[in-house]
């Protein structure tokens, strides 16, 4: 009985909040059609042109996935180099910290100049956005190893590679997944912003948003935003699912549910 009441206690508040938000939105949209479209309009757009949204979503998703994966892979490689070569860390970490707080999307127009209107600038922006958060987390993860376990393998004369493979990599996995939960949705941000500035021949939800907004078609704009939200949730969910699969054998407290 208490379990059931608990379940209701978990589900009800967000449902009520969502319902309230929908009602407020509708009331507002009735009087300000040029600020917020009625939700019915958004739904109509989605149902009228499912193929259009699916095609553009696929493009954006692809940009985010490829760019994000490349950025995270490069960040992890650099984290390894920085971890083992002190000099590289001393030289590059301050730079990384500065770049981490720089709104890197600002260079998107320059990248369009450099790489044109194809997929490349999208990949580059997406990978740049995820690079620094992933780098910082990967470094922290490689460092966060039980010192007594390190002592133990030191007395066994384990090689660096063995320590990396048997201790450091497994210890860093919770950090990498935590970073992945942030970085995967972030890669979508990069892809969309890149599409904004290079709304050319390429498709993508960002392009769709810019085109629709210039025509005052708010229904399409918000329909694209809804699709982006779904993509973001899906990416986040995919990382969490993978994390459960991989780290299910860890202590449940490790890296799960920081909140």
């Amino acid at each position: 009985m208490s379990r059931r009441s608990l379940r209701v206690g978990v589900w009800l508040p967000p449902v009520v909040a969502l319902a309230a938000l929908v009602i407020l939105w509708q009331l507002y949209a009735d009087h300000h059609p040029y600020v917020a479209p009625r939700l019915g309009e958004v739904k109509d757009q989605l149902t009228a042109h499912p193929g259009l949204f699916a095609r553009n979503a696929w493009t954006t998703l692809q940009e985010g996935l490829v760019g994000g994966a490349a950025g995270m892979g490069a960040a992890f490689a650099l984290a390894l180099v920085m971890f083992y070569v002190r000099f590289v860390e001393r030289a590059l970490l301050p730079l990384a910290v500065v770049l981490n707080v720089t709104p890197l999307v600002a260079i998107a127009p320059a990248l369009v100049v450099a790489f044109g209107f194809g997929m490349t600038p999208k990949y580059v922006i997406a990978s740049l956005l995820v690079f620094f958060p992933f780098l910082v987390n990967a470094l922290a993860g490689l460092r966060d190893v039980d010192p007594e376990a390190l002592d133990l393998v030191a007395t066994l004369h384990a090689s660096r590679a063995e320590v990396l493979w048997r201790l450091r990599l497994p210890s860093s996995l919770p950090y990498l997944f935590a970073a992945g939960r942030i970085c995967m949705p972030l890669s979508l941000v990069g892809a969309v912003v890149a599409e904004f500035v290079a709304a050319g021949e390429a498709k993508g939800l960002g392009t769709l948003v810019v085109t629709a907004a210039s025509l005052g078609d708010l229904g399409t704009v918000y329909a694209a935003v809804v699709v982006l939200a779904v993509l973001g949730v899906a990416m986040f969910g995919a990382v969490v699912a993978l994390q459960r699969l991989v780290l299910g054998r860890y202590a449940p407290a490790v890296g799960m549910g920081r909140r």
Binding site: L152, T155, H157, R166
Partner: protein, 281 residues
């Protein structure tokens, strides 16, 4: 040179001590920190542990007993003097995987099962010569009462059981020397007692040399062939007390008059080595 078993045994020259001496500390100095904050921990320690002996090191906090153990494990280097294991530098012994280290915390890897944790030492440094008759990991764990827990995760085990896993992990690659740093410090008294006897049981037939750091007088007497008492004032070995209790020992040994007399002798010795406590003015 303080020989940790019989003072009559020779082995005064550690340089040529490949024979009877398992671990030899000669004139070992070690300090930590820099400048004004430099703290002397070991000041000219001479000690040798004979092959096959179980030697415990006891002393007040700050006497350097853990430092002594970490020097023998190669985790620290002496500022002066030398440490040798079977007549060779410590690094030679660790390279050949002849040293089994049991840290204060069990240091189990949370993502590995009990059995996989025990197998870890076999998966690193494979260049080291394999032991002639390696003990079977499952048999070891079974002997330690963990036969049912092979596939469980460390987090599912009590502190005492985790420590048993750590002991099995130290035995599994059959090292000639075991270095144990207060391995039972974090468990309750009853668990300590059962761990102590579990350790004695699997050590008994193994022929391993053990250097065991402890805070517990009872533990020291119950386990050892000799107890090394260290001093926090002189930063060295204060006295080596031989323990001539019969083996194998069980729980009942701890109630005999000889045992209690040794405990008393040890307590008195420890009192001498502690820093005097002054009443605040």
């Amino acid at each position: 040179m303080t020989t940790a078993t019989s003072p009559s045994a020779q082995g005064s020259d550690p340089a040529c001590g490949g024979g009877d001496e398992a671990i030899v500390f000669s004139g070992v100095h070690k300090s930590f920190g820099r400048g004004d904050e430099r703290v002397k921990v070991l000041d000219g320690v001479d000690l040798s542990v004979r092959r096959g002996q179980f030697v415990t090191v006891i002393g007040p906090s700050g006497c350097g007993k853990t430092t002594l153990l970490r020097l023998a494990a190669g985790l620290l280097r002496p500022d002066a003097g030398g440490v040798s294991v079977f007549g060779a530098p410590v690094a030679t012994a660790t390279e050949a995987k002849r040293i089994g280290f049991v840290p204060q915390a069990p240091a189990l890897l949370p993502w590995r099962s009990v059995l996989d944790n025990v197998l870890l030492p076999l998966q690193v440094n494979r260049k080291a010569p394999a032991p002639d008759s390696p003990p079977d990991a499952v048999a070891l764990l079974t002997a330690l009462g963990l036969g049912d827990a092979l596939n469980r995760r460390p987090r599912e085990l009590s502190g005492g059981m985790q420590q048993r896993v750590a002991i099995a992990r130290a035995f599994v690659f059959d090292p000639a020397v075991l270095l144990m740093d207060e391995p039972f410090a974090a468990v309750d008294e009853l668990t300590r007692e059962s761990l102590r006897h579990a350790l004695l049981e699997i050590w008994q037939a193994s022929g391993k040399t053990v250097l065991f750091v402890t805070h517990s007088v009872t533990e020291a007497v119950a386990l050892s062939d000799a107890v090394v008492v260290m001093s926090a004032t002189t930063h060295g070995v204060q006295r080596v007390i031989p323990v001539d209790l019969p083996r194998p020992r069980d729980e009942l040994v701890e109630t005999t008059a000889e045992f209690l007399a040794l405990e008393r002798e040890l307590r008195l010795e420890l009192r001498k080595g502690s820093k005097p406590v002054r009443a605040p003015r």
